[in-house]
């Protein structure tokens, strides 16, 4: 009897998440394609529920941050003092945000700490693009040669000195951007669309189970 109960529990644990995912996925698909009042209302309800679930996931994320950095502090792992700073700042912003997100303290933190730090980190991108371009433009293969030639033509065609040299380079630049580049991008987009459909259909049909449960996430 106990064995039977265990078998039923395992079966339910495996099948129930899959059945729910397939049913709700099918409903959302029907909601997207058909304009029917009751289905739209049900679809809207599940979408709002998803927003609430994601908000709870954010709490899980905060707990994860706490666990990872507290462990680093307790074990005195490399950079543990930065973990203290991180947790202290997180606590400070949380306390400042208690009256609400429009609180002057929170606005000040975002305007004078968060956004300047973001801008400073993102400004590294300019230098990283240069070093990545240097690394990428080494002639290690035939496609790298094509990459270099195309980059040179487009660069010269974009800058004013390209027009001084003549109309050929800007015209070639325009052709490269409008014809082969656009064709390649469209090909990638079509492939990505098909891949996205395939991924969704596999989840809808129960072939993939990223929502976990006994038996593995995906099969």
């Amino acid at each position: 009897m106990r064995r039977l109960g265990r078998a039923v529990a395992v079966g339910v644990r495996r099948s129930l998440p899959m059945a729910m995912a397939m049913a709700i996925g099918a409903l959302m698909l029907i909601d997207f394609f058909f304009d029917e009042r009751h289905i739209n209302a049900l679809g809207g309800f599940f979408l709002e529920s998803a927003v609430i679930v994601v908000a709870f996931a954010l709490l899980l994320g905060l707990l994860n941050v706490l666990v990872v950095h507290l462990r680093r502090i307790i074990k005195r792992e490399g950079g543990w003092f930065y973990s203290i700073a991180l947790l202290a700042m997180a606590l400070m912003v949380m306390v400042a945000g208690i009256p609400g997100p429009d609180n002057s303290a929170v606005v000040w933190i975002f305007d004078y700490i968060q956004f300047p730090l973001q801008a400073a980190t993102f400004s590294l991108l300019a230098f990283f693009v240069a070093t990545a371009a240097y690394r990428g433009l080494r002639l290690r293969s035939l496609e790298a040669v094509a990459f270099v030639l195309t980059a040179v033509v487009v660069l010269i065609g974009q800058v004013p000195v390209g027009r001084v040299l003549g109309d050929v380079v800007p015209a070639l630049k325009d052709w490269i951007l409008n014809v082969p580049s656009t064709a390649g991008v469209r090909g990638i987009i079509i492939g990505v669309a098909l891949g996205t459909i395939a991924t969704g259909v596999r989840v809808l049909m129960g072939f993939d189970r990223p929502y976990g449960g006994e038996g593995g996430s995906t099969q």
């Binding site: 304009d35 679930v53 994320g61 941050v65 990872v68 070093t131 990545a132 891949g195 996430s217 099969q219």
Partner: protein, 259 residues
């Protein structure tokens, strides 16, 4: 055609939705049919993708050196418009998690969207349980860094710069912050495999990683790394639909040209 448009209109389906429906609907029976055929006849040959082939070598190298593998599944999450890309990254994590659980390789997975956190943790936990070592699972091996893309990049840059990482795998949805992370990896001589679907970011992936997965190649991870029948079948189904789309485009060009 007018009759068809009227029927669709009565059902509340616009023209654009009808085209999407026409593309989606054949996938279901095609996937079922091809899945069954592959189960009966075995896997068809797949063209080699160097990124997936060399990933095995990188994992082996990391195992032998005792260093860490870092996995990033992008800045998207579950339930967003880029869920498929996040699931592709999750598939790669599943493969790496299985390798880690079997060999004791240290793996650190970072997420930017918190909805991906419990799913990624579940993948790691299941991998340990499958090898018979559920107690080996460490919840801190999956880290939520930040919902903000720049802050996420800064966190990953720190891991790649200080955590003795041997291999860095970044597959999922990324924007410009990809280059911030991959450049740090490149400077620290980390073996890197990157993949994304955004055409604007692909040049960064190509220039700063050892192997780039371009567009839909990231969705092939389940077929190449895990050998799953359903994934191989969906690759075949994609090929069939791609052929149909190409033929439709060619026929359309001919009709327009001759008209």
């Amino acid at each position: 055609m007018g009759f068809l448009a009227e029927i669709l209109g009565n059902l509340g389906i616009g023209q654009q939705h009808a085209l999407m429906f026409a593309l989606l609907l054949p996938f279901f029976p095609l996937l079922l049919l091809l899945n069954r055929r592959i189960r009966e006849r075995g896997n068809p040959p797949l063209r080699p993708i160097p990124a997936y082939e060399d990933l095995e070598a990188y994992l082996g190298e990391a195992t032998e050196s005792g260093r860490t593998v870092h996995v990033s599944m992008g800045t998207g999450g579950i339930g967003t418009g880029v869920t498929a890309e996040s699931l592709a990254g999750l598939t790669v994590l599943e493969h790496i998690a299985g390798h880690s659980a079997a060999t004791g390789l240290k793996t650190v997975a970072t997420v930017s969207d918190p909805s991906l956190l419990p799913v990624a943790q579940d993948v790691m936990r299941e991998a340990c349980a499958a090898q018979g070592y559920p107690e080996a699972y460490d919840p801190a091996c999956v880290r939520f860094v930040s919902s903000d893309k720049v802050a996420y990049a800064a966190g990953v840059m720190d891991i790649l710069g200080h955590d003795k990482v041997s291999c860095n795998v970044m597959i999922g949805n990324f924007s410009d912050e990809f280059l911030l992370m991959s450049e740090v990896g490149a400077r620290n001589a980390v073996n890197q495999v990157g993949g994304t679907t955004s055409p604007q970011i692909l040049p960064f992936v190509y220039a700063s990683t050892d192997h780039a997965l371009i567009g839909e190649e990231i969705f092939a991870a389940g077929a190449y790394l895990l050998g799953k029948t359903a994934h191989v079948a969906s690759l075949a189904a994609q090929d069939w639909l791609r052929t149909a789309i190409i033929l439709t485009i060619l026929i359309g060009i001919l009709v327009r040209s001759l008209a």
